[in-house]
């Protein structure tokens, strides 16, 4: 018999903690390897966690509805595998130190560099690498400096969630005890977003191009097919599949849009994974429709609906938010006419779709009322120049303006 630790798994690179929603087994109950042991909820997703081993659930350390840092020991399983190691029951849990059971995913180091001193302090203070990922850095390029880790550690010792003191610069302004300032701790999703946005702007020279698109025919097409579509497919037909489909077709014509940059190499991808930016209660999430190039219009509509439903239900898996090759941000839902979105690294372009509004438009020297929208594309000028960006966007617009034959 061997006693195996079950730890809170790392469910994505920015996740620092997780909440136990439900234990599927109680203490003393037998469990098979890979059988569902518990359900957890993290910042971004809810997941069912399989057992790392078969055996008996010996001890539950963390009860339901409690939130703990990733890699914290949450339970012990007495495995039926033979092992000579004595049970480590008496040792206190040591996050990020013990050999990991299979349930835990490897910690992702990300692209952040930590100095020897920061790592020394982190180890002395018991700050895991996963936790370090969430420490805001004020050094060059967002590097975590000695000051940053000391501020973080001091804040953690303070005990309350809002206790982390602000960065030194802000501290100068926010006088302690002054009611003119309120210090709010950024959530993990927000910190990750902040880090990612700064990183992207530092990495890619952003250029934006705006095209006008006449959505009248798409609107008519959708309207005439909406009822039959919902009856046949079981979900509503929205504008988004039209845009996704147009983008996929345009990428097939201009594949450089679907690439990334590594050093002096361009990595062109032979698959098309379309990320769709969605605002959620927790912050910005970008679920991905995988292999869009293999799907027909209905298939795309189904995939878009699927990620939308699961985003709202908080049922996304870590895999659902990874691997995008191009992103669409529909800020039009907020009434925004024109925006300049920030590229989702390591992609090289992002399409922003503005609100569809009825406007007077000149067609054949007559004024007509049409459903119009502005589409903005931000692109990385290291690989995509104005000519390619403009041609791609014109292609998207051209496809959208001729929606016939979709269904």
């Amino acid at each position: 018999m061997a006693r195996i630790e079950v730890v809170m798994p790392q469910m994505g690179e920015s996740i620092a903690e997780g909440t136990i929603v439900k234990w599927h087994k109680s203490v003393g109950e037998a469990i098979g390897k890979d059988e569902v042991l518990l359900e957890i909820s993290t910042d971004k997703v809810d997941s069912e966690i399989p057992s790392p081993s078969s055996g008996i659930l010996a001890e539950i350390v963390v009860e339901e509805q409690q939130t703990v840092a990733v890699r914290t020991v949450i339970a012990y399983i007495e495995s039926d595998a033979t092992a000579s190691a004595p049970a480590p029951a008496a040792t206190p849990p040591r996050p990020a130190q013990e050999p990991e059971p299979r349930v835990s995913q490897p910690v992702q180091g990300g692209d952040r560099f930590y100095s020897p001193l920061v790592l020394t302090i982190a180890r002395a203070e018991g700050v895991s690498i996963a936790e370090l990922e969430g420490v805001p850095g004020t050094g060059e390029g967002g590097r975590v400096s000695k000051k940053d880790i000391l501020v973080y550690v001091a804040g953690r010792k303070g005990g309350t969630s809002a206790a982390a003191p602000p960065a030194p610069a802000a501290a100068g302004q926010a006088k302690q005890g002054s009611s003119n300032f309120e210090v709010v701790q950024m959530s993990n999703v927000m910190q990750k977003m902040a880090h990612h946005m700064v990183h992207s702007v530092h990495t890619s020279p952003h250029v934006a191009a705006v095209h006008e698109v006449d959505m009248t025919d798409v609107a008519k097409h959708r309207e005439s097919h909406a009822a039959a579509f919902e009856r046949a497919e079981g979900f509503k037909l929205t504008f988004m599949p039209y845009v996704v489909e147009a983008v996929v077709r345009a990428i097939k014509k201009y594949p450089l849009i679907n690439s990334s940059v590594e050093g002096d190499k361009i990595i062109r991808k032979n698959f098309i994974n379309i990320g769709i930016a969605v605002a959620s209660d927790n912050g910005l999430i970008v679920p991905v429709v995988k292999h869009a190039e293999e799907k027909n219009f209905v298939g795309l509509a189904r995939a878009v609906n699927d990620v939308a439903v699961r985003t709202r239900a908080k049922k996304l898996t870590p895999d659902d938010i990874q691997g995008g090759t191009f992103t669409i941000s529909n800020f039009g839902v907020f009434g925004t006419l024109i925006g300049t979105p920030i590229i989702h690294q390591p992609q090289v372009a992002i399409l922003g779709t503005g609100a569809i509004t009825k406007r007077p438009v000149v067609i054949n020297d007559a004024i007509a009322i049409r459903s119009m929208a502005y589409f903005t594309m931000s692109f990385d000028h290291r690989v995509v120049d104005g000519a390619l960006g403009g041609m791609f966007l014109a292609e998207v617009v051209g496809i959208l303006e001729h929606p016939e034959g979709r269904l």
């Binding site: 100095s115 020897p116 001193l117 920061v118 790592l119 020394t120 050094g139 060059e140 590097r143 400096s145 000695k146």
Partner: protein, 325 residues
């Protein structure tokens, strides 16, 4: 306690030691009747006589060789190189004889070689040398590099009394530019002990000689204008190095800039960098950085000399870069 110049502090130590100890004597080019190229020994020959203030031929090998010989038979010579540049003519006497005699015959070699060093005086390629790296690499020699009048007197006193050959780096730029409170009586500044000239939490600057003053100026400017707190360490001695102080300073700030006037490659800064990397790696919050003279002889033209040597602005910029890291 009187406020005197750096060069007067050196002269005072030599004078008082000569008064105290009849074994102490001077030898060098034009140090007697002329009083020395920089007047460090002005009035000495009139007071102590030709036997103890010896004008020599223009031969650094002869000056250092004679000093070595005198030291091994019990005298305590102080040899002056007119400019540090010319020590190369006596190099063999220093690194082969002075440095090794104790190892070979177990004889003490109590002598001092004064090296008027450094630039910032528009002296050009033959009168601006900082040759410390050569001697750092020659086991058997001690080497000191005072930056203040107090240390100049205290280290000269300690050097004269030391049983080993001591290279005394004195900075022409500081000779009459800086003054300090110096006790009338003799005292020793221990060889091998550095000093924290200014404490700070963000970055440590390790330096010695003239550049300590530039580092202090940069540090006070950055503290005042940009809120960067710099710790400035004056090594004072190069052999032996104050390793404890160096490592403590790394631990205090996690970021280190080493500044010296001598050119970069193979310099004192390289040795200190290696010491830190080997012994304090886990305390580093940034790469160890060096700011030193460019790898070129010091040019005559003031604008070019300014370009080649470290100054307050270059040091401030390097500290800023480290603080930001």
């Amino acid at each position: 306690m009187a406020t005197i110049t750096y060069i007067d502090a050196i002269a005072q130590a030599m004078w008082q030691e000569m008064e105290r100890d009849p074994r102490v004597f001077l030898l060098g080019e034009d140090i007697g009747t002329y009083g020395g190229a920089f007047k460090a020994t002005k009035g000495f020959i009139q007071h102590f006589g030709e036997q103890r203030v010896v004008d020599t031929p223009i031969s650094e090998a002869a000056i250092i060789g004679a000093a070595v010989g005198a030291a091994v038979v019990g005298m305590r010579p102080i040899a002056e190189m007119q400019f540090a540049d010319f020590v190369t003519c006596g190099f063999n006497q220093l690194v082969t004889n002075a440095a090794k005699i104790h190892y070979r015959w177990k004889l003490p070699v109590p002598m001092v070689v004064r090296l008027p060093s450094g630039g910032y005086i528009h002296g050009g390629p033959y009168h601006s040398a900082n040759p410390e790296a050569w001697f750092l690499h020659a086991p058997g020699l001690k080497m000191v590099a005072p930056a203040t009048a107090y240390d100049a007197k205290g280290l000269m006193t300690a050097a004269i009394r030391d049983e080993n050959p001591v290279i005394f780096l004195e900075y022409k730029y500081l000779y009459r530019r800086i003054k300090g409170d110096v006790p009338e009586d003799l005292y020793e500044v221990p060889i091998g002990k550095g000093e924290v000239r200014r404490d700070g939490t963000d970055v440590t600057v390790i330096s010695y000689g003239s550049t300590v003053h530039f580092a202090l100026e940069a540090a006070s400017r950055l503290a005042l204008e940009e809120g960067i707190e710099t710790r400035v360490v004056d090594l004072r001695s190069l052999v032996p190095l104050d390793v404890g102080l160096i490592l403590d300073s790394v631990k205090a700030t996690g970021k280190v800039l080493i500044v010296h006037e001598a050119n970069l490659t193979g310099g004192v800064g390289a040795e200190i960098s290696a010491l830190i990397a080997s012994n304090a790696f886990a305390f580093l919050d940034a790469p160890v950085m060096r700011l030193a003279g460019l790898d070129t002889p010091v040019p005559f033209a003031p604008t070019l000399e300014e370009y080649v040597l470290p100054n307050t602005e270059k040091i401030a910029q390097a500290i800023r870069t480290l603080a930001r890291y």
